[in-house]
């Protein structure tokens, strides 16, 4: 249960950062927080307390002891995606700073209406 609460707290924190913070880097951190929260959520869904890897060839391993392997695979995929997204985002921030000379999101609003 605590994992769920933790992960949702992380997501909420990330959302807070994305909405309230003015600094581009902080917004990116917020995004990363959301992503981490989601990853934590995925992991915790498949987690079995005291469980172990589902290796069928190992003797004496009961099904209830097996940790669901799919969420872990999913998490790996999600992490990869997040990482690439973050890389792209940082590149954008660099370019934004070049063009606008500021990291304040309030000042970056040449496109509107």
């Amino acid at each position: 249960m605590i994992y769920y609460v933790g992960s949702f707290l992380l997501i909420a924190l990330g959302l807070y950062a994305v909405i309230i913070k003015k600094n581009l880097i902080k917004i990116l951190i917020g995004l990363d927080l959301i992503a981490s929260g989601v990853n934590l959520l995925i992991i915790s869904i498949g987690y079995v307390k005291g469980g172990t890897a589902p290796i069928f060839s190992r003797a004496g391993l009961k099904a209830s002891m097996m940790v669901d392997p799919i969420p872990q695979a999913l998490t790996l995929t999600a992490i990869v995606i997040d990482a690439s997204e973050m890389a792209l985002a940082v590149a954008f921030v660099v370019l934004l700073y070049k063009h606008y000379g500021t990291l304040d999101i309030k000042k970056i609003r040449s496109l509107k209406w």
């Binding site: 909405i19 917004i27 609003r109 040449s110 496109l111």
Partner: protein
């Protein structure tokens, strides 16, 4: 025979495309193709003279059959469309010159409009009808904006109002479809016959809004004066003579093809033995007649004057159609034909004047009768017809409408109809006086009459005003036969008029015209017997001792009815257009205000939208899926 209907519908479209392609080769190819195909359509139309064909299925959509049909009423409008289009194509060859205006797709659009209107009158179901209705709207839009800078704004207003009207129709059509899953006219009629009064009224009102926008009946007319006056000269007669008649045709189909007077009378109360819905339509038409007449009297622009006159005259058509009696409906339909003829003639004649002088401002013109006598004569016939003076055609149809109203004792409407006709004397006289009579401005001294290609259509129409005036039976052959199909008692008529008993009095136009001709000849002979008159210059004039010279603007033509304008000042102030503009502006400001507050360009705002949506979703989940 039946397949010809589809061929006929396709002819103008094919012709339009060929004209467009041919135009790339040479302009004369374009002219030739346009003339050929519009003539071909006219010939094909004559195949269906007084023929009734029910239901040629040409497709099917969403379970409703798409049908083409024809009957004499359709034929009447078919005749108007094809004949006028043919004449206008001929006129265009003279008028729309390559060096004055870019012509790439002019003939294509012209033929497309013709094709769309043919589609409307041949349609046997509402989807076909609506489809061609919309095609007509946008193709005619492109024709209107050929007229230059000002016409673009006019065309914009036209297309927007057309779209609004069309969508109003659309709702009604969708309602009917949902109810019966078939939009064939016969099925629609049965659907309406088994529907509640509310449903019927809504259907008719929604359809009616669409038709009234196109027919420019009074509160929905505001596009017409601009569009008709700014459109190129050959297009104005098409709009005024033909296009707005489609509204009248639609109204006829709805009122008598779908509903019938008996049915309407059963489901709603009647006033003056007219179902109240029809009575309201009659009032709108009558108001159009009177108010548009007043406005036409005060115009200084020849085409604008004719445009307002169109609103007034289409009022007669609708008024006649909405009477619900055989005589009145026949009168309305006949007036549709007559109006097409004489208004087409007037617009073409004014177009000819514009072609030679380059202006349509009435007070800049004058005295052209000496320079353009043929155009003058044709226009004279046109205005006599328009004013409803015997023996020309406008008189007969108006007479029928008056008699029908009198028979039904709808006296107030009758008074308004009369007033509109008397008012027409004022503005038609203004038109001919300011253009052709009086002092000839010096700059127009070298004006010639227009080339033969422009004369021909004008004169064909001018002769038609006489023919249909003296032989109203020619048109009645078609109209009465067609109206029988719609459940009307046939009215008695002869080739020359109406015998006693049809109306409250009799009419025999040939006697009127014969006696008038004899009296004219007698007076003329007497005139000739007396000593010959000497022609003196226009400037040798009674001017209280002053010497009048050509440099002096001596003629009285600006503000011709200024004193009358004082009488109707309060009416002129009523601006329906201002009200519309007010609402449009308000909507624009409102829309802009909200848009600016939603798409602020601020990423934080955007992100918070996401959070808001998620929050609402979360609230919904917590409340068990119910937000209220």
């Amino acid at each position: 025979m039946n397949i010809l209907l589809e061929i006929m519908l396709a002819t103008p479209f094919i012709g339009g495309l060929l004209a467009f392609i041919g135009g790339k080769v040479h302009r004369w190819v374009r002219f030739a193709v346009a003339v050929t195909f519009s003539f071909l359509t006219l010939i094909e139309a004559f195949v269906y003279y007084n023929v009734t064909i029910k239901g040629v299925v040409w497709g099917s959509l969403f379970g409703s059959k798409l049908i083409l049909q024809t009957n004499p009423i359709s034929w009447l409008f078919l005749f108007i469309v094809t004949a006028m289009s043919f004449l206008i194509v001929i006129f265009s060859i003279g008028d729309m010159e390559e060096d004055r205006i870019k012509l790439d797709s002019y003939y294509m659009q012209l033929l497309f409009v013709e094709g769309a209107m043919i589609g409307i009158v041949l349609a046997g179901d509402l989807i076909t009808f609506f489809m061609f209705w919309e095609i007509m709207s946008w193709t005619s839009y492109f024709l209107i904006i050929y007229g230059g800078k000002k016409s673009v704004a006019a065309g914009y207003k036209y297309i927007i109002m057309s779209i609004i009207g069309a969508y109003s129709m659309f709702i009604a059509i969708a309602m009917l479809y949902v109810k019966a899953h078939s939009l064939v006219y016969a099925d629609v009629a049965t659907t309406l016959a088994h529907s509640s009064a509310t449903f019927v009224v809504w259907t008719v009102v929604l359809l009616g809004i669409g038709f009234f926008v196109k027919a420019a009946i009074m509160p929905l007319h505001t596009w017409l004066p601009d569009a008709h006056s700014e459109a190129p000269s050959p297009v104005s007669p098409l709009l005024s003579g033909v296009l707005i008649k489609m509204g009248a045709y639609g109204l006829f189909i709805v009122l008598y093809g779908f509903l019938s007077v008996q049915l309407a009378g059963n489901i709603m109360p009647s006033v003056f033995s007219t179902p109240i819905l029809l009575y309201i339509i009659q009032w709108l038409a009558a108001l159009s007649i009177v108010l548009a007449t007043f406005l036409a009297i005060m115009q200084e622009d020849a085409k604008r004057l004719l445009a307002y006159s169109s609103i007034s005259q289409i009022g007669y058509v609708v008024l006649g159609i909405a009477t619900g009696t055989s005589l009145g409906v026949a009168g309305g339909l006949f007036h549709a034909l007559n109006h097409a003829i004489f208004k087409g003639l007037l617009f073409l004649a004014v177009g000819a004047v514009i072609y030679r002088t380059g202006t349509r401002n009435l007070s800049d013109l004058g005295g052209l009768v000496k320079k353009m006598p043929y155009t003058f004569t044709a226009l004279l016939l046109g205005i006599i017809a328009l004013a409803g003076v015997p023996p020309l055609n406008g008189f007969v149809s108006k007479w029928m409408i008056y008699e029908a109203l009198l028979q039904k004792k709808e006296v107030f409407l009758l008074i308004m109809a009369f007033i509109g006709s008397t008012g027409a004397f004022l503005y038609v006289y203004r038109l001919i006086h300011s253009i052709f009579l009086g002092q000839l401005p010096k700059k127009y001294e070298n004006v010639k009459d227009v080339p033969i290609l422009m004369q021909v259509p004008i004169w064909v129409l001018a002769v038609s005003t006489i023919i249909f005036g003296i032989f109203p039976g020619l048109a009645m052959n078609v109209i009465v036969k067609g109206m029988k199909l719609f459940g009307f008692k046939p009215i008695a008529y002869t080739l020359f008029g109406f015998p006693q008993g049809t109306a409250m009095g009799a009419l025999k136009v040939i006697n009127i015209s014969a006696v008038l001709a004899i009296a004219f000849v007698a007076a003329w002979v007497l005139f000739l017997i007396l000593s010959k008159s000497r022609k003196v210059s226009q400037y040798d004039n009674y001017a209280a001792g002053q010497v009048v010279t050509p440099e002096l603007k001596y003629n009285y033509s600006f503000g011709f009815y200024m004193s009358f304008g004082r009488v109707i000042k309060s009416i002129l102030k009523l601006g329906i257009e201002r009200i519309y503009n007010y609402w449009v502006d308000a909507a624009k400001i409102f829309g802009d205000y909200y848009m600016r507050r939603v798409y602020t360009g601020n990423l934080e705002t955007y992100n918070s939208y996401i959070v808001i949506v998620v929050t609402i979703a979360a609230a919904a989940i917590l409340l068990g899926g119910k937000l209220w």
